[in-house]
Symmetry: C4
């Protein structure tokens, strides 16, 4: 097992767990807590912010996993700085269930509380975006860190795209102070855009096919 393989396995584990722990934010209304004339239908309907936040956060972590995957397909070796930045990224990703629950709880509260909850959510995504950008820059900063088939110049040229991702997430922090529900909607739109942006880019490489890894995979523009 190579260095990056075990790093990828650990990262996959953390991201898989973080994405699955999101379900714990969907708490079942207890029978004894339903109001006298309240039906389960009503109680479940009121939980719509929880479902919405679950879907959006799930997609976001899923996209981060795809990007992480794409990045490490180009990497041959990692140094201690990259290990640290990867750990930083994982720290933000595994914290995501917290702002997700927070936003779900306060989405419809209105006033400063809902704005703050949305700002914490957007801020977390901004932090994740910045951490991924730093990881990308660090992991690709020297030609000898890349796999032989990968063109260093082309990879470096794709860096501005990541700064753009960070700027978009910074805007969602601003948006949070206007409307919490619109902020969640914006995150949903961003996730869907990133997911489908490059769907047409053809099949990805697999065992035995070296693939067009000499150009940065288009899906790397996500984030």
């Amino acid at each position: 097992m190579t260095e990056t393989n075990r790093l990828e396995a650990f990262s996959d584990g953390v991201m898989a767990i973080a994405i699955t722990l999101l379900v714990l934010d969907l708490s079942v209304p207890a029978r004894s807590q339903l109001g006298r004339n309240e039906t389960l239908r009503h109680a479940l309907a009121q939980m719509w912010p929880n479902y919405a936040a679950y879907v959006v956060s799930f997609l976001i972590i899923g996209i981060i996993w795809m990007n992480h995957h794409s990045l490490f397909r180009m990497i041959a070796r990692v140094d201690r700085l990259t290990l640290f930045l990867n750990l930083l990224l994982l720290m933000v990703v595994s914290a995501i269930p917290f702002p997700t629950r927070l936003l779900a709880e306060y989405l419809t509260a209105g006033g400063p509380d809902s704005h703050l909850a949305a700002a914490v959510y957007s801020g977390t995504m901004l932090a994740m975006s910045l951490a991924f950008g730093a990881l990308f820059v660090s992991a690709t900063r020297r030609p000898d860190l890349l796999r032989p088939t990968v063109d260093h110049a082309v990879v470096r040229a794709s860096i501005p795209r990541f700064t753009g991702g960070g700027a978009v997430y910074a805007l969602t922090v601003v948006l949070a102070f206007i409307s919490a529900p619109v902020t969640l909607l914006a995150h949903f739109g961003l996730a869907v855009y990133y997911l489908f942006d490059h769907t047409g880019s053809g099949s990805s490489g697999s065992a035995g096919s070296s693939g067009p890894a000499s150009t940065p995979p288009p899906e790397l523009t996500v984030e």
Copy 2:
């Protein structure tokens, strides 16, 4: 590590976590909450819907894992659409602890609440079935996505079986409005049927043996 290997590892992780989080739905009655003359035996006996829902959901996720496994034994490479559909499937699978808890809580409530809980449970399984069907169609839709030993025509011919699985789960949604316990029983029966359906199909391939992978493995008919 190849593209599909890491996709499989991530999917295995999510499914392993979702299946294990089901245990959190088995909450221990606190000593201080037992009624004056209530024994633990009585309190545990009243939790039978939780045990039943645990077993059924565990089997269902286990079957999905087996089918996922069988599918990817035929796949050589995946494209972005398949990655997305796989993520969609994982989103449904990792949500399963929620309807499981919901059904356990309301199974014996009677009336519209228990019907709704059962319908949510059945609806989740229907969504899972549809997501797996879409993933199957996408992942096998072109010969160049398959491993060389796999016969594309034979694989495509097996697609109708999956539509059948979806139809069966659609029926359980209808059944939910008749009786919640019967719905859970039906899901148990379906799971057992799928588990044993093809037990006689012999040993599966392993390292060093290419196996009869040129025909779709019979267990793929599950779901």
Copy 3:
């Protein structure tokens, strides 16, 4: 990735999660719930059944993982029956956090409640032992399922050892109705015995060394 590799990875995932979820049974006493003159020291000391149950269950799941590992080192391929029995074993293993919490909560309750909690705990371990025995018998029941270097006759001769493990766990069910704390102590003793029983058996095989895999590894007698 071979059939058994992905099976092992999924099983490892489930066992790793079940073993880690045990920590959720160690709940921190809230500041607001401490009695007026109660110190944290006192509250933590009263939680000793939780620590004891955590350690014992952790060791038991760890041993099962080791045995699972030893078993699959001998297996070349699995059939559908073995897949099912493996799923059954995982269902019991991933349920272990529930009887662990139950025993911790009622260990010092005395009377029928503590006996019942201990019996549920012992019964779970008995079920685990039986499921592992069935998996062992199924996975090794034909020579063509084993790796070429493994001697089928020798493996089959080791089966009685497993029945013995089941009998010991059956005794702990009986013991539960005598004393819950003694039952937990017995499980601790059994786990330590199994852990150290064969510590002197030398280094296990690794990459590049085929090892003495033609005889059943002594550690397989555990469970």
Copy 4:
């Protein structure tokens, strides 16, 4: 899959889950529990011990993972004693969410309660350090356990460094009885020191490059 690979995969799984479960200690203040004039901003600000403890524990588990990784890059085979010590280490690591929550809850309580919580936290880290030291000594105690490229004498010469790590953690236990917040700060400082200590040590080995594995990797001095 070799013996150590599956051991590493299981260990990675446990550590990945333990690190991700830390997020469960960040509980969202319920809308209904906010005081009349209390804002969410105020409630979140009061949770700063939870954030601090999350970050520190996350870094500590991350460092342990890196060290575990570095250790096993030198190991060719493990015996039963090493398996047991690895299990012991995992038992401590997967318990970390408990002292983390405990310290967060009592950090600002003052008096003996906060000292005790900090001592439990420091004691857990001391236990982890000792378990890792024992694992290191056991796993490297004979030349035939190491990979051929690794120099046994050099590895053994690095053992004193680990004793030092244990001594430092022993000091944090003493520090706990002086000040809980300072203790948490000390753990943060130690984690950052360990993370950056050897950042300059260059890129780590990867597939195809045997790397300078004949000398103990500098990062092994961590702990």
